[in-house]
Amino acid sequence: MTKAKAAPVPVVETEPAAGDHGVHLLREMLRIRRFEERCVELYSRTAIRGFLHLGIGEEACAVGVMEALLPDDAVVATYREHGHALARGLSMRATMAELEGKVEGCSRGRGGSMHLFDTATRFYGGNAIVAGGLPLAVGLALADHLLGRRRVTACFFGDGAVAEGEFHESMNLAALWHLPVLFCCENNLYAMGTALQFTESETDLSLKASSYRIPAWEVDGMDVLAVEETAREAAQAVREGGGPHFLELRTYRFRAHSMYDPDRYRDKDEIEKWKERDPIPALIARLTHDGALANGDLDRLEAEIAAEVDDAVAFAEAGTDEPIEDLERFVTSGPPTQAPTS
């Protein structure tokens, strides 16, 4: 194969109009927050079942990083990925319909909350095996490398993933082959109920990246502007052929690990302390101070988002169940051939 000549580096808008852009970031974070709050209600009335992992408190990570990506880039995420999906541009309708198990959902109701997929936005899941998505991200980037495409694959994972072999294998492969992966570690200090200091001999996670010679940044994951700024810089470096980069996004989940989790392992004080750093009020205060958010703007924004959530829920509830005859569809691309009584 003659290796395709590398395409020119696409330019990502680096200096967005401050005010409008800030409101855009606020809108994206609020959309996720209100969407997930509605999910809690739907869960209590059993419209959503199974595992439901909320990212309430962590919205700045997904929103900030997505700003640094172009439509051709790829995203790989975990089971705590509603925010990433919405920020990446999956419709709230298709996302909610998926959570309600409807065929109109982004994965036809096959995946549920943990397995959101969308090829149109190059959103590759929705992986519920801790660290299982990292090798996929390496491979997506390898394909871009081999085909001479200047694209970035952003790969999200938690602090818990850092203990898995797949994390280390993927870091090494990406660095060794100089692949365009943006590793985004959302360090919320807990893997289910186990705090980082009980699982890692070295709790400074960016050092792990450095040990693979991957440039790493520690970022305040509660500050969407900081996340965006660093992500843009890192993504641009990746896009320009700088090899993999690593962001450690220091964040916190305000709610339990999943709807099953009684949250016995954290101090209420600790949670309250982190809530003082809630990325949404922080941005509101800043935009108000800067005059970017005028009187009544927030109410209008909230009303628009409430309407979008209402519409998504109505869409999901009006959605249909996939016909039972389709149970075996998509096991393989061909017709089901495995039926023993053929």
Binding site: A74, S107, T119, L142, N172, S342
Partner: protein
């Protein structure tokens, strides 16, 4: 017609695929500078370069997963795992990603890749290099599992496997690499859906695949001397199983012996046996018999290893025990 080894047949198939399609590349441990742990890829690094004949670190999960990702990204990877025992380190990627992504994504994500690996015993490499775990993979919906037992299949199965939009696992029995045979100069495409009748007969059906096909054919030859005409079915595709081919054979011969180097309990041989019982029960003159690997971790000593894997005499005895 030319004389060729099984190893060379696999190499030719890889070479042809690389020439035919720019998206095809090979990735695995020691596939490049070393030339492949079974010398299958010998010389390909020099021909195609290190981007397409890609040596990997010892990271089975990492590079199998990277193969899946590359397939999602538009490539057609051939991932080589040294032996099936090492593939256990990549089980997560194979079972949780390759086999599930199409379904879990509601039909959006295809994973068009091939994973090749050596399997089986017979070379005195003991309990961490000799097992026949292809039956485990044949258990997994979403995978296609192939076992080329002949030179033609070693040469011909790869291209259709690469054309399959879904993940395909190819199991090459380690004892076959040195096997020599004739190969037509003109390679005709092989069907990766169907089992093959390798020898026709009317008294008993012997079902085998991969490494045990030779054993089954040798047994059939010996049985012919005893006046028993054995039909030998080569499964070829372990998932999906081509049930009609072996069931209709048994319907003609009324007796069946399933030969499988894998362990008996919960095995591929159990599945084949069950399907025969489900679909040809009233055609049977005797219960379905099985000749399987002994249920032990593979021993090193030659006499013990021989005892642990199906031998010609075991198959012959099993056939006679059915009254044939």
């Amino acid at each position: 017609m030319s004389k060729i080894t099984y190893r060379e047949a696999v190499r030719q198939a890889i070479r042809e695929a690389m020439i035919r399609d720019d998206r095809v590349f090979v990735m695995g441990e020691d596939v490049g500078h070393y030339g492949g742990c079974y010398a299958v890829t010998l010389g390909l690094l020099e021909e195609f370069g290190s981007e397409r004949i890609r040596d990997t670190p010892l990271s089975e999960s990492g590079f199998v997963g990277a193969g899946i990702g590359a397939a999602l990204g538009g490539m057609r990877p051939i991932v080589e795992i040294m032996t099936v025992n090492f593939s256990l380190l990549a089980l997560d990627q194979i079972v949780n990603n390759a086999a599930t992504l199409l379904y879990m994504s509601g039909g959006q994500l295809n994973v068009p890749m091939v994973i090749r690996m050596a399997t089986g015993a017979g070379r005195q490499v003991a309990a961490q290099h000799s097992h026949s775990l292809e039956g485990w993979y044949a258990h997994i919906p979403g995978l296609r599992v192939l076992a080329p037992a002949t030179i033609e299949d070693a040469r011909g199965m790869l291209w259709p496997a690469l054309c399959d939009p879904d993940p395909v696992l190819i199991f090459e029995h380690g004892a076959l690499y040195n096997q020599e045979g004739d190969l037509a100069d003109e390679v005709s495409p092989v069907d990766i859906d169907k089992a093959a009748i390798r020898r026709a007969g009317s008294d008993v059906t012997i079902v085998a695949y991969g490494g045990t096909l030779r054993t089954a054919l040798a047994a059939a030859e010996q049985l012919a001397g005893d006046g028993v005409a054995a039909e030998v079915v080569d499964l070829r595709c372990l998932r999906p199983l081509d049930t009609p081919t072996f069931v209709s054979s048994v319907a003609r011969t009324h007796r069946a012996v399933v030969v499988d180097e894998g362990w008996r309990s919960g095995s591929l041989s159990a599945e084949v046996s069950a399907r025969i019982t489900e679909e040809a029960f009233y055609d049977l003159d005797a219960p379905v018999a099985r000749v399987c690997g002994a249920e032990v971790p593979m021993p090193y000593a030659k006499h013990l290893e021989d005892e642990a894997i199906p031998q010609v005499a075991d198959v012959v005895a099993a056939v006679h025990a059915l009254g044939a």
